[in-house]
Symmetry: C2
Subunit: 671 residues, 2 copies
């Protein structure tokens, strides 16, 4: 089955990419953008920077894990059937050593640095690329190379206590087991999971918690440390638990997930509160301005939620995946697919600039076309490429639609077309195209914000004839019944914008509220100096309203969106090489991109909102009379009085930063 995750058991069964075909719409457009722009963008940059040349024995360029970016791109190409796959795969395969080892950084000097070397991490991504190829188009020299590589890992590591500082190989090995049935891969993955936290790695400045080696996986109360590593490890742990029937391990990860979502996750679904160690913080340490919320951690969170959904069938995992997909994964790429956020803060005070002088890796006020640590663009490429895998699942009795988006879903004789402008519109129509003569159900996940719609006077759910849906958990189930082609299920989800308030223990956003509409988190954005967001106080007693007319259309993407975009042609070859290891910043160079504009596809009727607000100037800063006001931002007086009623425009968070440098905030002060 053409799907990145195909468990041998679980409450729900995934559907292959051939069974779910995205049509133009929010996610279909992004997959098209991936095929048309993002994959090529990544290929150009890695070619130019020498990361592909590494496999040809050219002088080594890039960070120690640069190989993994090539593998993630191969995986993206596999899921999309990209014609460039063969040539790139051949380059990779040619670099493999006779015993199966393949790493352009550590060849000849293997396995000396488990803390930072990323060798097994790279091997994991290689394996995933091979699995993707196998499941989409069958055997290939790359898939044979992957088996050799995996066998080398098993021979070397089956005994002993070593693990990789960056988890990843665990879930890859389980998937290879699922594909081949060779139990050594599962056993190797199980041992890697179990070895952690005994401890298995050396102490480092950031502490062993950084790479989840401070406590055994099944004893941890929460996810912690480096957020991407935590997510990838948890994915591997779920995969091992499902395949070995280890219910205790599965329950442990579920409990960690609950703790993390309740106390360590931003409104956008973003995970990671500290730039230091790219890590989770303490419970309720959720700063909007210094949120790290790395794109890859969001992708990892979606991967994990999907695995937990398949294993348990609980809709809350799909709820969180939806939140993270719309408000973090979709936020990372610019609308033109040529620049990316690495960190995804919820508040930016200073309009972003991207220069080599001042931008550390996670400069988060502007998207950058590439990074020295460029895990996010290629991770987005493979995620968008495999998006259909997340949309729906099956059981013997029917199909479950978890994410309403324009598509066709076909499984076991039942084919339906989903028609919707979601997330802009709440109308979701499921039209039966083909049906078997045996009963089936069609279920639709009801997001938590739509739960009230089931009450009298709420939204409308119509089945054909007098068919009434049944609530099962958080899903609306139509059927089971024998369907007739042409029958239609229609749902109208309530899309009124709503104010959201934080738990009082989230200190960093006390006295603030945020706006959501459907699955989308909104934000105020201030291109240029139009509005000084630092002075805005919103009136959260009045509901946000939809913005209409000419003023709304101004906010669609203009040429400004390209102000921060560059193509690989603009930069000199070999820029940001291994010779300059200290520089991890976004890479820039040359004139503005003036190539063809990928326009229109993502102009899909974005809804903007308006709220009532007022401006409140700050306290004076340069006191004329020092008596009573010493210039510090603290004093005995209360806040300054409000002035000047204004209307504050809100845009979907995932669309911010596409019009040039701006300030931005999701959490808006209410007083």
């Amino acid at each position: 089955m053409a799907n990145p995750v195909v468990p041998s058991s679980g409450v729900l069964t995934p559907l292959g990419l051939d069974a779910v075909r995205l049509a133009p719409g929010f996610w279909g457009d992004r997959r098209t953008l991936d095929q048309d722009v993002i994959i090529g963008h990544c290929l150009e940059w890695m070619d130019k920077l020498g990361w592909i040349g590494n496999f040809r024995g050219e002088p080594r360029r890039g960070r120690e894990f640069a190989d993994s970016e090539v593998y993630k791109l191969l995986e993206a190409m596999a899921w999309t059937g990209d014609g460039r796959f063969d040539e790139l795969a051949a380059t990779v395969v040619a670099a493999q050593e006779p015993d199966g080892y393949l790493n352009t950084r550590w060849s000849g000097d293997r396995y000396r640095d488990f803390e930072w070397g990323h060798e097994l991490y790279c091997a994991g991504h290689l394996i995933q690329a091979g699995v993707a190829r196998w499941r989409t188009a069958g055997g290939h020299p790359l898939t044979e190379a992957v088996l050799r590589a995996a066998d080398q890992v098993c021979r070397r590591f089956m005994e002993g206590h070593e693990v990789c500082g960056h988890p990843e190989v665990e879930m890859a090995l389980v998937e290879l087991y699922r594909l081949t049935g060779a139990e050594r891969y599962l056993e190797m993955a199980r041992r890697f999971v179990e070895r952690r936290g005994r401890p298995a790695l050396a102490d480092i400045e950031l502490g062993r918690a950084y790479f989840q080696d401070d406590v055994p996986v099944r004893r941890a109360p929460s996810f912690g440390g480096h957020a991407v590593r935590a997510m990838y490890l948890a994915c591997g742990a779920v995969d091992v638990a499902v395949e070995t029937g280890d219910t205790e391990l599965l329950a442990a990860v579920e409990a960690q997930w609950e703790h993390t979502v309740a106390r360590r996750t931003h409104l956008t679904g973003g995970m990671g509160s500290r730039h230091t160690g790219e890590s989770f913080g303490e419970d309720f340490e959720l700063p909007p301005d210094r949120a790290y919320a790395e794109t890859c951690a969001g992708i990892g969170s979606v991967m994990l939620a999907h695995r937990l959904l398949l294993a348990t069938g609980r809709s809350r995992y799909a709820d969180q995946a939806e939140r993270t997909l719309y408000n973090l994964v979709a936020a990372s790429p610019a609308l033109d697919g040529r620049s990316f956020f690495y960190a995804n803060p919820l508040h930016v005070r200073t309009p972003g600039r991207v220069t080599e002088d001042v931008s550390p890796r996670a400069e988060s006020a502007s998207r950058a076309p590439w990074f020295q640590v460029s895990c996010c663009p290629t991770n987005l490429a493979r995620t968008f490429a495999s998006l259909p895998a997340y949309v729906a699942t099956a059981t013997p009795g029917g199909i479950q639609i978890h994410h309403p988006t324009a598509c066709e879903i076909g499984h076991d004789g039942l084919t339906v077309r989903v028609e919707t402008g979601y997330p802009w519109s709440g109308s979701v129509t499921v039209r039966v195209l083909e049906a078997p003569d045996t009963p089936r159900h069609v279920s639709l996940r009801l997001p938590p914000w739509a739960a009230g719609a089931l009450r009298p006077g709420g939204a409308v759910f119509r089945g054909p004839g007098d068919l009434t849906p049944v609530r099962r958990g958080a899903a609306l189930v139509f059927g089971e019944r024998v369907w007739t082609p042409g029958e239609v299920i229609a749902a109208e989800l309530p899309m009124e914008a709503r104010w959201v308030r934080p738990d009082p223990r989230v200190d960093a956003v006390r006295g603030c509220a945020a706006v959501e509409r459907g699955p989308l988190v909104y934000c105020a954005e201030s291109p240029g100096d139009e509005v000084r967001l630092a002075e805005v106080v919103v009136d959260a007693t009045r509901p946000p309203v939809e913005r209409t007319g000419d003023s709304a259309s101004r906010s669609s993407m203009t040429d400004d969106a390209l102000a921060l975009s560059r193509t690989a042609d603009d930069i000199p070859a070999g820029s940001g090489t291994a010779d300059d290891p200290a520089h991890d910043g976004p890479l820039q160079g040359g004139p503005l991109h003036d190539g063809p504009l990928h326009d229109g596809a993502l102009h899909d009727g974005a809804v903007e909102l308006e709220v009532r607000a007022s401006r409140r100037p700050g306290t004076p800063e340069a006191p004329e009379d020092p008596e009573g006001d010493d210039g510090r931002p603290y004093g005995e007086a209360g806040g300054a009085p409000r002035e000047e009623e204004i209307t504050l425009r809100l845009v979907p968070y995932h669309r911010w930063g596409n019009h040039g440098p701006a300030t931005m905030r999701v959490w808006l002060p209410t007083g």
Copy 2:
């Protein structure tokens, strides 16, 4: 003159350590603790860890800047006349190379890494130690070594464009110029200051702003980057400006200081908002929980404010120095002087633990007896040793008392005794012991919170007879007049505790208030699980009241205060060596300290406060019914209702963390 800073011009003239003699009291006790405990504690640890052995050619231990800790300790010993100075100095001098170069890390491999090598930084601390010795007890083999070292620096660096990644040598060279009159030292310092930001150093991951090389010093709008480096560079810039008459440079630093105090400084005076790069953040980015507020940055801020006070006479510099001394510098050491905070957050959610496994360098929830990067303990040692230098200044017409503390001040025939229990009491008495037969004034700085006391009905200021003080700026000036021994000036500063509120642009503490009393910032502290601070909401409409009776005495230091203390004897020799460069964490080991308890001196009548509060439980975390509450800390409902009125005890911030692991917060939610 026995003072670390002796400018050749300026509005105010410093007084030597012989002219200001501290008596028992808040600061006098701390200087005694330094002499009795802290200096010896530092000596023991550096001896045990091999940092002193480095000078004897033993296998190199410690970080690349370990030499500087030995120099700072020598400086502390010089200011206190410590008998161990000669032996330690001889060890250092013996390691000097014939041309004057002296560095145990880079000997034979000089000046290869200006970004991270810290060679000139170490040279600066060596020079400062030599200046301290010269000014307190005259020439010494160390002072000769210092001249050789400084001359070697001048020969090597007078031409060219190189600077040290960590500023420090600039102010040291100016002070050596002030001592010797040799203009090459001033010129060398001037060039080091001017070279920055052209740029002079290589780009690094954190960006050149990290070491203030992103913009020339006189063009920077604010302090930024690594906070300690920023403060040390600014000190050097002021010193150069004063000695060269560069009013533009002085004005630039003054403007940077104003900007930084208004927008980038915590309530405690702490500077640095980001653990990443140990740096300042954006304007108004002042998180209480992730405040870095390094002890050394606070010391640097006091050093800078003192220089600006001497140059300009503006009391606001002394105001900020006072705030920082009482609420940051005094907070770092435990009451027993055997453990130290490196970072000084204003909010700790999780009771601290100090274990080698999980504590990065700046683990800030507990004090540690030593660190691999152990700049703070030795910096405290030299600062406490030279405390008298900050208390008062002179002009030809009289003396100015900037920091009321028990002491005697003698200058130019006028000797006074200051009697006060400040900061616990607002009573300050200045008794004339000796007086010349020419007119003199005595002035007393009026802190901003006491300014209202000058209004009718405010506090009392009495001079002898009918002498009425005159307000000059923020100072009360008594005289000029001919004084008679036995005459007394008495002031009563208003010590009512007060609520302080943040500027609304300080997002991280919106909806909170803090309590101050006199110069002290207070905090709520929760040893054990006595009070769950995460649930507390205070009533800031009622003034805080002083805590009395038995309950108050419970909070004085008990044996618990030693729970986190260790002596150097407890740890194995060579622990935390250069062989383990990745580990920067606090060093621990062995059983609890059971040596003699330095008790009593710091039990100086600390005043505790009480405020009215209520408990507010958080939202439920594990929803039974997922509908409408999805377990996330965000929702459409408002805050939970308040429950259970309580009385919340507040303690001076500088005393928190002396009773074992605890949660703590300075900023208290008001609703």
